[in-house]
Amino acid sequence: MKCFSLVLTVCVAFLILGTGCSKKENTIKLAIVAQMTGAQAKIGSDFKNGGGIAAEEWNAKGGVLGKKVEIILGDDQADPKQAVEVANKLVNEGVAGIVGHYNSSCSIPASDVYNRANITMITPASTNPLVTERGYRNVLRICGRDDQQGKVAADFASKRLAIKRVAIIHDKTTYGQGLADEFRKNLGRGIEVVYAGGITIGDKDFKPVLTSIKDKKPDLIYFGGIYPETGLLVKQAREVELMAPFMSGDGSIDPKFVEIAGSKSAEGTYLTFSPDPKNIPAARGFMEKYAAKYGEMGPYSIYAYEAANILLTAIQAAGTTDGRAVMEKIHSMEFNGSLGKIKFTEKGDVAQSPYVVWITKNGKFEEYWKP
């Protein structure tokens, strides 16, 4: 009897597994993967909403290759280990393309997995040079690169602000440290780096390090990292009366940054980011749709939307979801979407990706300086 029930259990288990497998592939699966949980989860929902709108628009037009687009969400928790795990899971699910990841430290290891499986990945936000420097044809990005971004920040600091002394902090991640290094490399000879050091992501108390920076009297504090730490750093700097302006990169341009730092402390913080989509006429349609559905747009919502659109356009043009055909199509085509014309270089970067400097004013971000 015992034996019989055991056999029955196994049979039921197989039946359950079987239903999963026998489902006919009636949809085109598009993965959106970023940190859906954790301290940076706001970015995940921006990706999800932006990419989701693209899928809805295609489905309203009758889908891609006559099939409906289905969004598969992946959560990498901003953790490189988790990113590889999610990447393997998505490959097994047979997704046709990847919109993601956010953190460069996640995009790089995950792209190895996608490369082996010949699945095209377009990251809306990973700016570390290494993402596209490894000769992977399936890895592309529609944002800029940190070597471009670090240079613009350094030019701004030396030409516009004319600083003499700078303190550089980073969060020890691929993105944060990489950006801080690029910034430092591009500083002119006349600028003295009075402090350089790392902090730990998830830590809440930065007063000791800020107090020692205050002692060095910098004219500017540059931070390579993401908004939760940027917010805490700016807030605590003002509490120890370290009043020098802060500057950071595209990882910090998020309303949450102001919320954490408080709009008074955040006032005057410089951030490098792409030009304001508000000034791109083609973006208006998407922005109105987004605002009506989800409220205020996150900085990367439109990039996730555009990445999804490019993938789906290429699949449609290739006439197949075959990985190689899709990635060759993306490299050869020119896309005309909400961010204007986009053409990819041989490496997989966007041909022209101008960074500009934004400033935080009354709790909002405004374009401030063009190199």
Partner: protein, 299 residues
């Protein structure tokens, strides 16, 4: 600058100290390391955010800020104490006579449960404290001390002094007797069960205060903060000598000072490592901790 670093370290250290008290009191009585204690502190931080949020919408914060903060702290203490009490009854009391490892595993279970409970009910994202305390400073010996920092140090000091005085009361004596020998304490008419409950309630209440203070100080809370704070406070308790109440206070403050001066003068990249390096050194020199007494094995 050194004085500023001492103030930074003292703020952090006094918070560690009052969390460490919860560890050390429970260890003193049950010889149990209550790994779920950090989670109580995390609950305190969330309750602080929730209640102050409610008071702000009610308009009480605008009417009288001290009253709103006071009520928030009282409510957080009340609910956390209830959690502490229930935790002991559900997870530890049934295992009172089990091998020592069982309650320890049960404690880890409670910790995982509470963390995930908060993650599901409150969301996995960071929560920002609803009220921003002024950035007014006290210039004091070349250092900037915010009012909030000053209050954290003061409140912690008051709590530690009152706990010290409590030990001298009838109830406190009963608690110390229970810590020395449960059977003998029961024989002289002490209700051991209620003393153990009281220990958990006091520990949880202290953790609640720490939680609210930290939430208002850093302004950022997530469901994971209890883990790190718990490990640090546990280190503080071991550093001072686990089971010893003055030891926990001293250990917490030393830990805070080491962290802030280490991050300032050596490198901020290894901030978390300094505490553990010191812990290892102390344990090698004096295994029972700074103020810990060497206890004979009970026969």
């Amino acid at each position: 600058m050194l004085f500023q670093q001492v103030i930074n370290g003292l703020t952090l250290g006094s918070v560690y100290a009052i969390i460490a008290l919860g560890y050390t009191m429970v260890y003193g009585i049950l010889e149990l390391i209550n790994f779920a204690h950090g989670e109580i502190y995390m609950l305190g931080a969330y309750l602080g955010i929730i209640f102050l949020g409610i008071f702000t919408t009610m308009g009480l914060t605008a009417y009288s800020l001290p009253l709103a903060v006071f009520l928030t702290v009282v409510l957080a203490i009340f609910f956390c104490s209830a959690y502490g009490f229930t935790m002991e009854k559900v997870a530890y009391k049934p295992l009172r006579n089990a091998p020592r490892l069982s309650p320890l595993i049960s404690a880890i279970g409670v910790s995982i449960f509470l963390q995930n409970y908060v993650m599901i009910t409150q969301g996995a994202t960071d929560r920002v404290f609803p009220y921003r305390f002024g950035e007014k400073h006290l210039h004091f010996m070349n250092a900037e001390v915010t009012w909030l920092q000053g209050s954290i140090i003061a409140v912690s000091a008051i709590l530690m002094i009152s706990l010290h005085m409590f030990q001298k009361t009838r109830m406190g004596k009963a608690m110390r007797a229970t810590a020395q020998d449960k059977t003998m304490a029961a024989l002289v008419g002490i209700n051991v069960d209620s003393i153990i409950s009281l220990t958990f309630v006091i520990g949880a209440g202290l953790a609640a205060v720490a939680g609210v203070m930290v939430a208002s100080y850093y302004g950022l809370v997530n469901h994971f903060i209890g883990y790190v704070a718990g490990i640090k406070a546990f280190t503080a308790a071991v550093l001072g000598g686990i089971g010893s109440i003055p030891g926990a206070m001293l250990g917490g403050i030393i830990l805070g000072l080491i962290e802030s001066t280490g991050a300032a003068y050596i490198s901020s990249e290894y901030k978390d490592a300094y505490a553990f390096v010191i812990l290892i050194i102390i344990l090698l020199i004096k295994p029972s901790g700074i103020l810990g007494r060497h206890t004979e094995e009970k026969v």
